[in-house]
Symmetry: C2
Subunit: 144 residues, 2 copies
DNA sequence: TTGATTTTGCAACCTGATTGCAGAAATCTT
DNA sequence: AAGATTTCTGCAATCAGGTTGCAAAATCAA
């Protein structure tokens, strides 16, 4: 079985388990996310999936978000980035990790092994999500 | 001395100490930030400073940012929010605190007494700023 | 097959951010 | 004080990312 087929099989399983019908386009979008080395924007996906329309990508991502297949990261670049959620059951805070945005090359890095620190909110505040992005210079840009 | 005069005096001192010329408009913007209970957007400032143009507000905030008088918060609402930096010397991570964005009423709260947790970045990454926003429901919206 | 539902592409729109430019205001020079 | 120079501000236009309406295409169900 080829790499692409394995990805599609995994994508299909995952989508079905969350109640998302695995259409051809959705499999394409999902596997693009599987192959991405870092969080990607709608524009990134548009570039690598030339056959698929921006609005369809957008709606697909919205659907994935609603069904907790992916989460979105606001890195301050002006466009939201998306990545697959690897937690077993939901996109809870425990499944998330830190991100780093390089202000020079504008790439966003995942620090997969750095979970979001626990926080004790004041009485009455209920947490449903979190966005923790460190900004600065990545190793490639450190001397710029 | 009236409240407004005290604010202006403080604003002027602060601006001068950071090398920003305290024009009339800048004093207005600065004191609006002083009086704000929570981080505000350009649109918020436009509303409360009807005499000042949006682009001037924008340029003023950009100037304040460059001179570390304020910092910007990306709360995921689509518009950047701004608040005064209260640190003595810079807008370093140590001067910053957590923010909470209510997904129902779209208000952003400051948790002034909750500093950003320390993080150990991988070798080669240099931190210059941070954006840590918790999302969920505030006490007023908790039962919605 | 036929009719209903869902998915997709295209084009248009919206909103916040950003810029070009010219007049107004402040500053400098003599 | 007057003119030259620089800085600041308002207006209008532009840009980019996000979002939606609508109709055609694809899928599903009877």
């Amino acid at each position: 079985m080829k790499k692409q087929e394995i990805l599609f099989a995994e994508a299909e399983t995952r989508m079905c388990s969350r109640g998302v019908k695995p259409t051809a386009v959705r499999l394409l979008v999902f596997s693009a996310l599987q192959m991405a080395a870092r969080p990607v924007s709608v524009a990134d996906l548009e570039t690598c999936l030339q056959t698929v329309d921006k609005s369809t990508i957008f709606r697909t991502l919205t659907l994935f978000l609603e069904h907790h297949l992916i989460h979105g990261i606001e890195d301050g670049s002006g466009s939201v980035k998306y990545e697959l959620c690897h937690g077993e059951w939901d996109c809870s805070v425990r499944d998330m990790h830190l991100h780093f945005f390089c202000e020079h090359c504008h790439r966003t890095f995942c620090f997969k092994d750095m979970p979001i620190p626990e926080v004790d909110l004041p009485e009455g505040f209920a947490m449903r999500g979190v966005n923790f992005v460190i900004k600065g210079l990545c190793p490639d840009c450190a001397d710029k």
